[in-house]
Structure formats: C-alpha cells, structure tokens
Amino acid sequence: MLYFSKLRITIVTLTTLLFVTIASSNFFKPESYFLDKKINLGLDLQGGSYLLLEIDNGPIETLKLQNTTTIIRNYLKDKNILFTDLRILDKSILFNINDDNIEKVELFFTDKESQINPYYIQYKSHQFDLSILGNQFKLEFSKYGLVEIKNSSQDQAIEIVRRRVDEVGTNEPNILKRGNDRILVELPGLDDPMRIKSLLGKTANLTFRFVTQNDNDTFGVEELSFENEENSALVSKRIILSGDNLLDAQPQMNNQTNETVVSFTLDRVGAKRFGKATRSGVGKQLAIVLDGKIVSAPVIRDAIISGNGQISGNFTFQSATDLSLLLRSGALPAPLNIIEERTVGPDLGQDSINAGVIALTIGFLLVIIFMFFKYKIFGLIANITLLLNLFLLIGILTLFEATLTLPGIAGIILTVGMAVDANVLIFERIKEECRYEKNNIIAFDTGYIKSKTAIIDANITTLIAAIILFFMGSGPVKGFSVTLAVGIFTTLFSVYFIARLLTGLYVVKNKEKVNLI
C-alpha cells in the first residue's frame, strides 16, 4: 500500500542523508568529519604510471638444474652407484644407470623422504618428474616444481622491487603480485617513470672476481666485456664476494682523483672474506662485475681488511647514486621485463576529470529537463530521486574507497541515463492502470507491483554484464564495471524507497485528482 510507517520514512531519510553526507565529504574538507574517506582517483585521472613486470625465470631454472646435477653427482658417488653420461639437455637432467641399480636409484627420486627430489606435501608432487627409458633416467621439473620456483622468485623479486621503489621515494606506490610470475607497480603522480624503469630493469647482481690469464682455473673462467663494450677480460668463475655481503653503498666524490665513486661497507662475513682474498691477491686485478659486465678491474695494492671499499668506473653522480641504490636494495633473483606500461601526465588527468564533470553535468541536466517536461510533478520526483541516486552512488564508492577511473565516470553518466528507466516503467504502468482504475491509490499500487518483474529482470541483466566485466576487465575498465554495478543497486534503492515514498505522499494528498499523471 501507499501508506508508509513513520519508522520507514525515518529510516529512508536517514540512510539518504547519511550517504549524501559521505558523498559530500569528497568535495569539502571539513575538520570534524567522522569519516575521512575519499574516492581514490585512478591513474588515468590523477596521472601516474602503471608498470607490469614479468619475471624471466629461465635463468633460475637453468641454475637450479645445474645445482641439482651437482647434487645428484655427489649423492650417487656417495652411495657408490655407477652412473654415466650425466648431463643437462633441454631443461631436463639425463643420466644412465646400469640394470642392477635401476630400482634402487628410482627410489631415491620417488621416495617422499627423498633428499634430492623434494616432495611438496601441499601439492602432492615432487619437484622433479622422473621417467625411465631403458637405462636412461630423465628428470624434468614437475608442474609444481616450476610453480614453486616461480612463487619463490616472485616473493623475492617483489621485496626488492618494493625496496627500490621506496628508495626513489614516490608517493604511495602500489606494488602487487599478478599471477605467479608478474609484478604490478602503480606509481601515482609519476609522469616520467624513466628512472624507476631503468632501476627495475637491472638485476644488480654484483660480484667481485679475480681477473686471470690462464684458462685452467679450477672454477672455470669466462670472458666478460667491460661496460664500454670495447675491451674484455678473462675472469674466474670463483666468486670472492657478492652483493649479498653489502651492508651499505653510497655515492661519493673521491677527492684525489676528482671522480665520482660508489663506496661500500661490507658485513662481517664479507669483510673477512674480502680481507683474506685481497691479502692473497695483492698485485692481481679484481674485476667488479655487475650483471655480467665488468664495471672496473682495479689492481689490488694492499689487503683491504676494514670492510670498506670503493667502486670506480666512469660514473656520473646520477649513475653512482643509482648504482648505490641498487646495491643497497639487493639483487633481483631474476631479470624483470616490462611487458606493459601506461603513463598518464597529471595535466591530461585533470583535463579528463574536467571533461568528465562537464559531461556529467550536461548529461544530468538534459535528462532532468526531459523528464520534467515529460512527467511534470512526477518528473520532478524522478529528478529528485536521480539526484539522490547520484549521491548514494558516490557515497557508496566513497565508503568503499573505490577507485574512480575515466570509464568509471562514464559509468556514472550512463547510470544517470539508465536510472530513470525504472521510474519510467513504473510511471507508464501507473498511467495504464489509471485508465481502468478510478481509485488513484489502487492504480499506483498496482503500477508498482506489476512493473516489478520487468524492472528486476532488466537490472539483473545489466548486473550480469557488469559482474563479468569486473572479473575479466583490467584497470580502468574495472572501474567502469564497479560504478555500473553499484549504480544498479542505488537505482533500485532510490526507486523503491525514495521515489516510492515521494510519489506515495503526493498521491495520498491528491487521491481525488483526475489525470494525476
């Protein structure tokens, strides 16, 4: 019926007022608000950078295979089992075992207590899948073995990424995992991500190794080029010291040579190792290798036991600062590739906001003018409902601190256009009912009841589309789906509670009037 209890009127009024208040907290900055929530602006509106990084796990997998090969070699030797032809081929480890030992060796890899092929209880799977063909054993990473590698490298990488971004000191960065080999970095307000990109693009794997002349070093040697790409040197694979042992690194001006250097401090273990190596290596050249390139290769004059040192290498002050930052924040477990980048300048963001607000205002005005001319007093009710609906929508977005994007604004405008639909359906139905029913109040009531299924069905279909968009869409599009979906709920609330209340009050007052609508 069209009569409402006082309680209902109070609840509807209070709810509406509450949301109007919450919504308006976006526009004013009152001091004593109980809520200091705000709608977040998406990167497309406030300007900023969105970077999607993918971890290249290839090198880690190769390393892991090499380590496992060594482990298998030692393990089998330990157990006095003869094996031949142990090698890595196409991401798998191959070796041959003679007939007598096949079953025994098989157990080494398939036992749940296996020491060389760890069993992950949570996945019910070993790290490696074993297949035996005749005498040949073949080990390949199992599905979960790969997952495990990816997860752990992602965990490490996100930590390093966070440190590096924090060191640069941007405003409220957002760093999140995506899948198991990606990292999303959102940098609001940053319109030139160049520096961050170059910092994140470096693994920063630092090692100190001796330069050698003979290529029969016990650890093996490799030829590495200098950073200028012109010269190269033969460097031992034996790592004296790595970036892990660094406590601190800072750019510094060397007063004697007037050159920018990176000075570093080693931890206790590092200092000891460095001292020992430099003592025995006086006169030798020490290569400082960063990501496979030699930064510099100074000759050791004295043993360095203090745990302090300097890296020189044609740095500008900027590049020395960046290198120190990279060394302080640690090495990435694997290289990161930027696979998606979206940057919006703050002025474009502001332009988009302005355009959105203008479009919203004009769209809203057009709709309310149209509605007023079409339905007069009921148009006015629909318009009040529409305005309150807008506040409800913004209020809810504020309450959940949702992110508003440019397509999100479009979603709000679209809601304005579509929100009148429910009221129109009701009004048109009431009009029809009025033709047969002389009692205005009954006509109104029937109008509301009979239009219900159409309204519910129509809104659910839009809601389905919005939900699918939310789960499948990314970034800005997600913002659109959120406003669209929230808009459906606020529309239904405002139509069935606010508009119904207002029409009810009006109809009850004018129940004798003919041609009411």
Partner: protein
C-alpha cells in the same frame, strides 16, 4: 496503435543485410585493433609550437626507425596521437624517442600519455576480452532461459548478436580503434539490449496469460505498443547521457560512447524487430507459458 508487425518482414530483411554486410566487413576489412590488443606503443603528445603539424611529426617519427608509424590529430590542433607497433619494450625506448624528437622539432612538446603494451599482454587482453563477451552472452542466454521459455531466450540472444555484430561492423567500416573500453562498451550494450528486450518480453508473457484468443503475431504488437513510451523515454534519456559523454567527455571516451550510442539505437530496434519476430516464428502461445507455470 502502431502496426509494428506489418514491417517484420521488411525489417528482418534489412537486419539480415546489415548483419551480413557487417560480417563481410569484419572478415575482409577486419577490426582496427589498438595497442591494447595488437601490442605496440601509443604516445599522446601536445605541442605548444603552432609550427609543428601532423606532417612534421610524421616525418620526425618516420626517421626514428620505429616501423609503421601512425600519426593523427587527437581532438584539437595541438594534440596528436602517435601509434606504432614495435614489439620489444626496452625500458629506455620512450626516453630515446623523446631525445630524438627534441633533436628534430625542439622541445616545445610534452608527452601527455604513453601506453606500451607487449605482445604477450596484448594477446592475453584480447583473449580475456573475447571470453568476457562470450561469457556474458552465455550468462544472458541462461538467465532468460530460466526466467522465460527457450523461445524467448533464443529471440533475446539473436537480438544481442544482431546488436553486437552490427556495432562491430560499424567500427570495421569506419576503421575506428578497438581498445579495452570498446569491450566494456560492447558488454554494456549486451546488458542494455537485454534490458530492453526483457521489458517487452515481460509484457508479452503477461499478455499471453491474459488473452488466450489473440495470436502471437497480434500479441507481440500489442505488447510492443504498450511498452513503447517507456522504450522511447528510456532510450532517449540514455542517449542524452551518452551523447553528452561523446561531445564533452574528452577524446579518450569518444570511441566508447560512440559504440554505446550505436548499441542503444540497435538494441532498441532489435528488441522490436528481432526478438519479437522470433516468438512469432516459433508460434509461442499461452500453452508455452502455462507449461512453465505448472
């Protein structure tokens, strides 16, 4: 009362022709995928020097060896959109482009927006876009099937395909760019078109219960007429909102709002001339509905 059903045949023919034309365009001309789905780089650039025009920019960018570079105006005289499809994203390529551009046209420009999408991401986005559209069509089909009868479901789905295919056909014809927001628009069209169809179907169902002696051919016409003023008013207000986004919402939302405008126009039309003739075709009667009620 307007005799909509008199024109069922004529408009079905027109729709069929439009759909076939759209499919031909989609097959042979294809869609103009933007960097979201094709991979590559977009740079939105604003110049402050009036001397710089589209051809100087084109020349400068062509000299940079970036492959096929597309330069176009973006909204006004000072804004340009540069698109190219270089596959590998090096962390410093934007910086290099900036430097090269400064060398050739001076520094009276700034990059307002840069989007760089790698081939892997773009193919994933395309895949998830297609999945989203297919999924929403399936969900709608399912929902209508539950709420109504299968004949209604089929009618609604045909209307949806009609709207989506023709909208995409228009985009193909005009060579407009398909990006992520167009997928959002298409999904919203799906929702809207459905919304419109459901309102008329709801009335058809109600009338089927009320009148046992009126044939479906007449009945759809009555139902369309009864809901006509609502159809017109809602499409009008929605279009008012969308036109306002198209005209004032900025360059970035142009494609999105255009797709929506087309979708609303065709969605409204198809509810009348696609969805309802399907009910007529299958001879839906009171029996069809009563079976459901039992």
């Amino acid at each position: 009362m307007i005799n909509f059903n008199k024109f069922y045949k004529l408009f079905n023919l027109i729709s069929a022709i439009l759909v076939i034309l759209s499919i031909i365009f989609l097959l042979f001309k294809g869609l103009n995928f933007g960097v979201d789905f094709k991979g590559g780089t977009i740079i939105e650039l604003r110049v402050s020097d009036k001397q710089i025009n589209i051809s100087t920019l084109r020349k400068s960018f062509n000299d940079m060896n970036l492959g096929d570079v597309n330069v176009k105006k973006f909204g006004n005289e000072r804004d340009f959109l540069i698109m190219f499809e270089k596959k590998d994203i090096k962390p410093d390529n934007i910086e290099t482009i900036k430097k090269n551009l400064t060398l050739s046209i001076g520094n009276s420009f700034n990059f307002r927006r840069v989007e760089n999408v790698g081939p892997k991401v773009s193919s994933e986005l395309l895949k998830s876009g297609i999945i989203a559209i297919v999924l929403s069509l399936a969900a709608m089909l399912f929902y209508i099937w539950i709420r109504f009868e299968w004949q209604f479901s089929l009618g609604a789905i045909l209307a949806l395909f009609h709207d989506v295919i023709i909208t995409l056909g228009f985009f193909s014809l005009l060579g407009l760019e398909i990006n992520l927001s167009i997928v959002a628009a298409v999904l919203t069209i799906v929702g809207y078109s459905m919304n419109d169809t459901v309102v008329i179907f709801d009335r058809v169902r109600e009338n089927l219960r009320k009148f046992s002696d009126i044939k479906i051919f007449e009945l759809t016409n009555i139902s369309i007429n009864e809901t006509l003023s609502r159809t017109i008013i809602t499409s009008t207000t929605t279009l008012l909102a969308l036109v306002s986004i198209y005209l004032f919402g900025g360059e970035i939302l142009k494609g999105f709002s255009l797709a929506m405008i087309l979708g609303v126009v065709f969605g409204t039309y198809s509810s009348i001339y696609i969805a309802n003739p399907v009910l007529v075709f299958f001879g839906v009667s009171q029996k069809t509905i009563l079976k459901e009620d039992k």
